[in-house]
């Protein structure tokens, strides 16, 4: 085994000292070495003091020395380890100035410092040649060493913030914009750090950014954001690249602002900037199918469609939405979504007695939705759940979420829309979250105790959650004892008789909380529009900004000031003009995938598709486990957990509920899905069931035309077009077996995109 100290001695003469740095993100060559005249450090004035924190570390960051692939990774690179992206300057300073017997810097003869001779490639360096000897960066490092390589200075001016200019802009396609980054310090000084800052674009298809801060828009429209980072400060530039000139989009096609809700007004404002015209409104048949699927997860029945189409009242869409929200299917559908997010998992507990628990939790979620329990209460009941899981179902959440990282990461991602996983080991590279933030958050749960336990329980799931007297969390690196503190919130001042989880719930659900309402409205928006305003929906970062900030603020404000009423939120979203647009694009919005200028079609999720097929064919699914396990005729959407084997559901992307990320559920097409539809025993069984719809069609006395119209209403929620009816009837007439004819027709319709998509 090889020890660190030994290695340091060894590297004194060994040629493999060569490999001090290894990997360099991206192309680091010529453009980095180009000197720029933006720096304010006057190197011809030797008295100018070079600060470690704000002058030296940024050079290491810009050159990628401290990146995760090089010396910044947790094990360092060949004996030289500095902190990831320079978030721990004390450690960096020690590594540079003290380790390797001080050979990394040599104030008496700065050019002989390994730090420099490696970087310029005079001494072999695994990371290659990063610097030219006449570059500004070299001069900065050299001058710092010449000044005696002073460490982090408590009296040094502190970096307060960086400003990115110009402000957010509309840019033409194929154009350029140079960004400037100015750092502001506590002594009132300012400095242009455009050259030292690092940049990233979140949408390189729309606009790229180079190392000097030059934005280049591409040959398409869209929204993009560029992150600039200097030290521990981040600033974001948001750009709009119009798809079309404003003349090309017909502004007269926009509905008049008087008729628009506030939500629609925010969208229209953005469409105008982008030069796009929304698609026309969806017709009634499309709308009833869309909204029934989106709210209840079921197809409307033929009768519902017929009644709705013949209704002539102007508020019929609004009334339809109200009716749907009162149906038990609404609760079932959204309970499925929450059971995914809350990881109501049936597998992985090494016992088969867990079904009772998943059923209990699943029923509790469904009841909460059915009674429209305010969202803040719903979440509070989960977070603060105490007592026996058998008696207090939300405590079952603590079954899947069992340790520090589970608590922190699940809650942050579920309810605050923040992916904080990075900060477990180091400062989040694209965010403000530090390890202390992570472990202070973890401290809130340090006194969650468990008694009993499910593995050996007589009564299934009877683990008991209680508040322990003691429980500490320390930052594993600094060993600092952490006080309970929520992300971005204040320290809780509580006695040991108080449950810090209560304080968390209170802080989280207060209307002032910047994340809570926003995360939920974005999640629900993502549900209905197929894409979040922040996307992915649970990845809010300053570097991943909402595509329409005013819109998300509007929705969040409405939600938190109206008692976190989820049904109301759904009404607000589904009654908007935007939600009711057709999915068919026009010339101006066909490339748009970010701004909701039309409805983006979604493939029906696994359970909904299977239930839809069952509904059309009138043959329920038989779930494994025998008739005793689940009620006869139960829909897949009501399955309590994922541990019910059904190839159809897995092929179509059912999640395994191992994380709080909605992204576990996928709609990616795959050959195995097509094989399920074309060729599975389950579909074949539903097609041939003696009590099923196909059998009834085969034996009824109605004309083919009559039947075909009923079939279309049942599957596509619309009447057949004349040509479709003719084709279908012709086919049925040509088929010798009436049953076989209807079977094939139904099969074909169920395999169409029109059936499989909500459009």
């Amino acid at each position: 085994m090889f020890r660190f100290n030994k290695m340091l001695n060894f590297t004194e003469w060994h040629p493999l000292v060569a490999w001090l740095i290894v990997c360099v993100l991206m192309l680091l060559n010529a453009d980095l070495q180009a000197t720029e005249n933006t720096t304010r450090i006057k190197l011809d004035q030797p008295e100018q003091k070079i600060y470690f924190l704000t002058d030296v570390v940024p050079v290491l960051t810009k050159l990628n020395c401290n990146s995760g692939g090089c010396h910044g990774k947790s094990t360092g690179q060949n004996g030289f380890k500095i902190s990831l992206l320079g978030f721990d300057p004390e450690l960096d300073y020690a590594a540079i100035s003290l380790e390797a017997r001080g050979r990394r810097i040599s104030p008496a003869d700065p050019d002989r410092s390994l730090l420099l001779s490696k970087a310029i490639g005079r001494v072999p360096h695994g990371g290659g040649k990063l610097l030219k000897i006449d570059s500004e960066d070299y001069k900065v490092l050299r001058e710092w060493i010449r000044q005696g390589a002073p460490g982090p200075d408590p009296d040094a001016p502190v970096l307060l913030r960086i400003d990115l200019s110009p402000g957010d802009q509309v840019l033409k396609q194929n154009s350029n914009l140079k960004l400037q980054v100015v750092a502001h310090f506590s002594d009132g000084s300012q400095r242009d750090v455009s050259r030292q800052a690092v940049y990233e674009s979140n949408y390189p298809e729309v606009a790229t950014i180079d190392k000097q801060g030059l934005v280049t828009t591409q040959s398409r429209g869209g929204l993009f954001a560029v992150m600039a980072r200097f030290g521990d400060q981040i600033a974001v530039f948001q750009g709009v690249v119009p798809y079309n000139s404003s003349e090309a989009s017909q502004h007269k096609a926009y509905p008049s602002p008087r008729k628009l809700s506030k939500i629609d007004q925010h969208l229209v404002a953005q469409w105008k900037k982008l030069g796009i015209t929304p698609s026309s409104p969806a017709d009634d048949a499309t709308f009833i199918r869309r909204v029934t699927l989106d709210i209840c997860g079921t197809l409307p029945t033929a009768d519902e469609v017929t009644a709705y189409l013949s209704d002539t009242s102007p508020d019929k869409r609004q009334r339809l939405i109200d009716r749907l929200l009162e149906r038990p299917e609404y609760a079932s559908y959204f309970a499925l979504k929450w059971a995914d997010i809350l990881q109501n998992r049936g597998s992985g507990y090494s016992t088969s007695k867990q079904r009772a628990g998943t059923m209990l939790f699943s029923a509790w979620i469904r009841d909460s939705l059915l009674s429209n329990k305010p969202y803040d209460r719903f979440v509070s009941e989960i977070l603060t759940a105490t007592g026996s899981q058998a008696e207090n179902p939300p405590a079952i959440w603590y079954r899947s979420v069992r340790n520090t990282s589970n608590y922190v990461e699940s809650i942050a991602q579920c309810f605050l829309g923040v992916r904080i996983q990075c900060a477990q080991c180091h400062h989040h590279p694209a965010e403000r979250w530090s390890e202390n933030d992570y472990y202070a958050f973890a401290a809130i749960f340090s006194r969650v105790g468990r008694k009993g336990g499910f593995a050996d329980a007589e009564v299934p799931t009877n683990e008991i959650i209680y508040l322990k007297n003691k429980g500490d969390v320390r930052n594993p690196r600094t060993r600092e004892l952490m006080q309970p503190r929520p992300l971005g919130g204040p320290d809780f001042s509580i006695s040991r008789f108080d449950d810090p989880r209560q304080s968390l719930a209170k802080w989280m659900t207060s209307p002032e909380n910047p994340f809570f309402a926003r995360t939920m409205v974005n999640r629900m928006w993502g549900h209905f529009f197929g894409r979040g305003i922040i996307h992915p929906i649970d990845d809010a970062r300053s570097t991943n900004p909402p595509t329409n900030p005013a819109l998300i603020e509007e929705l969040a404000h409405d939600f938190s000031t109206n008692g976190y009423d989820v049904k109301r939120l759904i009404r607000v979203i589904t009654n908007s003009s935007a939600y009711q647009l057709s999915s068919v694009p026009n010339q101006t919005n066909q490339e748009d995938t970010q701004c909701f200028a039309r409805y983006y079609p979604k493939r029906l999720s696994a359970e909904i598709l299977l239930d839809g097929i069952s509904q059309v064919l009138d043959v329920p699914t038989i779930f494994p486990g025998g008739p005793g396990q689940f009620p006869e005729g139960m829909r897949a959407v009501n399955l309590p957990d994922e541990n019910v084997r059904l190839n159809f559901l897995d092929a179509f992307g059912r999640p395994s509920r191992t994380s709080a990320c909605e992204c576990e559920r996928t709609d990616a097409p795959a050959l195995s899905q097509a094989l399920e539809l074309v060729n599975s025993n389950e579909i074949q069984r539903k097609m041939t069931d003696k009590n099923g719809y196909v059998e009834r069609l085969g034996t009824n006395t109605k004309s083919h035309s009559e039947n075909v119209r009923a079939i279309f209403l049942r599957t596509f929620s619309r009447n057949p077009r004349a040509a479709e009816e003719k084709m279908a009837v012709e086919y049925l007439n040509s088929e010798k077996s009436r049953q076989e004819g209807y079977r094939s027709l139904l099969w074909a319709l169920l395999a169409t995109n029109e059936f499989m998509m909500n459009h």
Partner: protein
């Protein structure tokens, strides 16, 4: 120049009217005549006439080069590791003592010992090695370029009508970078799903269910064509395009015997199955051979996780012997069937591992210089291309990039290296930009 459109949702096979105008702009240096030429070419078939296929052993997580192909027996203990080199069928090539079977067929195997790229994190490195391009960043880790498997699926396609062109065993890996991205979801790999060594191994739904006849499948196919009329323009996500293509493919698959037979390992001689090894690697390699034989053009075997930061010996003891057996038997089997010239074998991961053993008796990530392996497919065997430094740290001879490796693969599969596809921004993007095929392997 050969150019293929990336999406089907716009005019001119991917060159929308608007892009058309932009492409004419001096920014890209393309004149109208060039553009018309591109468009004309885009409509031609790009399918190269080839019968070549690729089988990949993907060492997800990064296999140690120093404990396998590029040994450093004379290095100090903390570098050279626990294995001794052994002689092979090629006089001056030595490999680890855990590769005795490959040693016997070394005349077919060539190593590139000087692969280098500039990232040390799993995901971006996997993207680099799978696509040839550096891509994902902190701001967005979504895949940005298509994997070589998807490029092969799109250009070469399946050699036989019903076969899936691109298959991953048991599932896709490489941190999500084995997919098609802007080539279209239909060029994503077909995932076998289960370990071929499992006694439950079976591809669901390949056989017609009882009561369903070929004739009714035929009429269903006709009906589907007639009624599947939802406007394709409504979807920009590629879901509909993928569904369309998979439905067609599924209908073809179930109506032919070919696919079912290809996946049926039980029809293989048990002695040969034993020879490949009754483990994940062996049976996967055998399945891969059956699939390319039946017409798949790229089969990637994901060989588990090789990220041996701790206790590397324990990990390698479990993984190297079965890998050795799988690769060596595959080479012999292909040779006996006269297929070795037509099937290229490639073994690589996102990077290698540090030359020096760390404090946890493991090796860390190392992209500075590592080794990949080629065999068959018309490459010259028994060669070592490039060289690492004395103790393995850096390249001393013939730095080779991920894109050079891809260029080598594409060249051997007969794919023109200037093939272009439109990326998500509508820009024609080359499958290879700066890479060169490794001529020493020709």
């Amino acid at each position: 120049m050969l150019s293929v459109s990336g999406t089907r949702n716009s005019d001119y096979d991917g060159f929308s009217r608007r892009n058309f105008l932009h492409l004419g702009a001096p920014v890209l240096g393309l004149g109208l005549a060039d553009l018309l030429k591109i468009r004309a070419l885009a409509k031609e078939t790009v399918r190269p006439k080839t019968n070549k296929s690729l089988i990949v052993f993907w060492t997800h997580g990064g296999m140690s080069q120093q404990d396998t192909y590029d040994m450093k027996p004379n290095a100090p203990a903390e570098y050279r590791g626990m294995y001794r080199p052994i002689a092979t069928s090629v006089s001056d090539i030595h490999v680890t003592e855990r590769f005795p079977m490959q040693a016997k067929v070394m005349q077919h195997i060539s190593q590139v010992r000087s692969v280098h790229h500039e990232n040390g994190i799993h995901a971006p490195s996997a993207h680099w090695m799978q696509t040839g391009y550096f891509g994902p960043t902190l701001a967005r880790n979504a895949p940005q370029k298509p994997s070589f498997g998807s490029v092969i699926a799109r250009t070469v396609g399946a050699h036989a009508k019903h076969m899936p062109p691109y298959v991953t065993i048991p599932k896709s890996e490489a941190f999500g970078y084995q997919g098609a991205v802007y080539l279209g979801k239909s060029y994503n790999p077909f995932e076998v799903g289960t370990d071929p060594n499992s006694k439950y191994f079976k591809i669901p739904n390949l056989a017609l269910p009882e009561g369903l006849t070929l004739k009714s499948v035929e009429s269903r196919r006709e009906l589907l064509k007639k009624f599947d009329t939802l406007n394709r323009d409504v979807d920009k996500s590629g879901v509909i395009e993928g569904l369309d293509s998979f439905k067609t493919q599924a209908l073809e698959m179930v109506t032919g015997e070919r696919v079912r037979k290809a996946f049926d390992l039980s029809s293989e001689d048990t002695r040969l199955r034993d020879q490949y090894g009754r483990h994940k690697y062996g049976q996967s390699a055998l399945l891969a051979r059956r699939l390319v034989e039946a017409g798949s053009s790229c089969v990637t075997i994901n060989t588990g996780y090789w990220d041996h930061h701790d206790a590397i010996e324990k990990g390698l003891e479990e993984q190297l012997p079965p890998l050795d057996r799988a690769i060596a038997t595959l080479i012999q089997d292909l040779e006996q069937r006269g297929m070795l010239q037509d099937v290229l074998i490639f073994c690589a991961g996102e990077f290698g591992r540090t030359p020096m053993i760390n404090g946890h008796a493991g090796r860390d990530h190392w992209s500075n210089c590592f080794t990949v392996m080629f065999a068959g497919g018309g490459i010259e065997g028994g060669r070592v291309v490039g060289a690492s430094e004395k103790f393995g740290g850096g390249v001393v001879e013939r730095k080779t990039t991920p894109m050079d490796l891809l260029a080598t693969i594409y060249q051997k599969l007969g794919i023109p290296l200037d093939t272009h596809f439109n990326d998500a921004s509508g820009r024609p993007t080359s499958i290879i930009d700066t890479g060169q095929p490794i001529r020493e392997l020709s």
